[in-house]
């Protein structure tokens, strides 16, 4: 539900591993696959649909690889990985990482791209780990079997907001599935079993 996936394409083992280490800071729900060359890149895109790409342009070797090798859907969500501090004159990538960027710098760039692409604020700090009253209410409705749309109608908010609430709930509780949330709701007396069976 709240997962984000990356595909890294970079030929240097050390750089790939380093980047992997940095991306792990984004949280548990991040899926990262890596490839070391153009062949693996193409093969992966055949069956894996990442949300974001991080690619070293040098791997592709051609000028217009951005348009020939990167699927249109992903061009807005692609990050260029540059080994030199100077960025190219006509940047095609919406975001860049340079080898001498600091860790927080890299994370900032990636988070800002995620925010731009997903249209919501992506950060795993700043909100309290306990669930709010509003979120509790949503857990209750989920446990009672309501769909996101039905919850939205009941609370006079958009479905999109419900999705955001549910994402936050999952992050805070560490529970992803509807039946898991139901168990949580019963254990915490947010609902009782009679209500659910009704």
């Amino acid at each position: 539900m709240s997962g984000i996936s990356f595909l890294i394409c970079e030929n240097s083992y050390i750089i790939r591993k380093g980047l992997l280490r940095v991306l792990e800071e984004l949280g548990e729900n991040v899926e990262i696959k890596e490839v070391d060359g153009i062949e693996g890149f193409r093969r992966h895109l055949d069956y894996f649909e990442p949300d974001f790409l991080i690619v070293n342009p040098q791997v592709f070797g051609t000028e217009n690889f951005f348009y020939t090798d990167i699927p249109a859907r992903l061009r807005k969500c692609a990050i260029g990985l540059y080994s030199c501090p100077d960025l190219p004159e006509n940047p095609v990538f919406p975001e860049f990482i340079a080898l001498n960027d600091t860790k927080s710098n890299i994370l900032e760039k990636i988070k800002s791209l995620i925010t731009r692409c997903k249209g919501e604020n992506y950060s795993n700090t700043g909100s309290s780990p306990e669930i709010t009253g509003r979120e509790k209410l949503i857990v209750k409705y989920v446990a009672l079997g309501l769909t996101n749309k039905e919850i939205a109608d009941k609370l006079f908010i958009s479905s999109h907001t419900v999705v955001t609430h549910r994402r936050n709930i999952t992050r805070k509780l560490g529970i992803k599935t509807v039946s898991g949330l139901t168990v949580y709701a019963i254990l915490n007396n947010i609902v009782n079993i009679e209500e659910i069976n009704r």
């Binding site: 890596e34 055949d46 992803k176 599935t177 039946s179 898991g180 168990v183 254990l187």
Partner: protein
């Protein structure tokens, strides 16, 4: 071979799935594999993919057949459904016997739901995905041997590996939830050792399942996709 187990004891379950038993003395991996009639290249590929999550299968090593992969994956499925999951279920029942309480019943029901989901997922692979992969391989072989276009089996026309990958729903989600429910939200159970045992088993089942799906994704899927491409270019 013994070095392998020392390097990663989780490979014990992998060697079991190949029918290799302990007591192999100083024999090398190749010697043990030869004696047990196991393809050494294939064994190493599985062991590597299982052990190292960043392992990339080497193309030149891909001499083994889809059938070998499918046989291995089926043995693994069998291990989950008929050994590991019942084992955990038994432990949960044991916990309930020791400590009455509605909340533990919920845990058991939840795990029961997970078992159903896992069984359905495994059935889907055993009955649809694997037969498809085998059919693709058989057709690909016929095509290469005769070099002419034969009647394409309907299952090959109807499905694609990509289609299956998309359906690959997150089977581990419930397992993840269950761990957190036990760790954070179940009222304390007196028998610590028992709860720890259950949690260890859940963690190791989760890891094993992840390693398992990595073997599917990295070893089986690319092989079948490549054959699909070769077939598509001819027909």
């Amino acid at each position: 071979m013994a070095d392998l187990i020392h390097a990663n004891y989780l490979l014990l379950s992998v060697i079991n799935r190949f029918g290799i038993k302990l007591g192999f003395g100083e024999k090398s991996v190749r010697q043990v594999c030869d004696e047990e009639g196991v393809d050494t290249g294939f064994f190493l590929e599985i062991a590597n993919a299982f052990h190292d999550k960043d392992y990339f299968p080497q193309k030149q090593l891909q001499t083994y057949s889809v059938k070998q992969i499918v046989d291995y994956l089926k043995t693994t499925h069998n291990y989950y459904l008929n050994e590991k999951v019942p084992e955990i279920e038994e432990l949960i029942d044991k916990m309930i016997l020791k400590q009455e309480g509605r909340s533990l019943d919920l845990v058991r029901d939840f795990f029961g739901q997970y078992r159903h989901e896992l069984a359905a997922h495994i059935r889907h692979e055993d009955e649809l995905v694997f037969p498809y992969a085998l059919e693709v391989e058989a057709f690909y072989k016929r095509l290469r041997e005769r070099g002419e276009v034969l009647e394409v089996p309907s299952i090959v026309k109807k499905f694609s590996m990509k289609k299956f990958s998309k359906e690959h729903e997150n089977i581990e989600d419930k397992l993840y939830d269950l761990k957190n429910i036990l760790i954070k939200y179940t009222p304390p159970v007196d028998d610590h050792a028992l709860v720890n045992h259950i949690l260890f088993d859940l963690f190791s089942l989760e890891k094993d399942l992840n390693d398992h799906s990595r073997i599917e994704d990295k070893i089986m899927v690319p092989k079948v996709v490549e054959m699909e491409k070769a077939i598509a270019s001819v027909i």
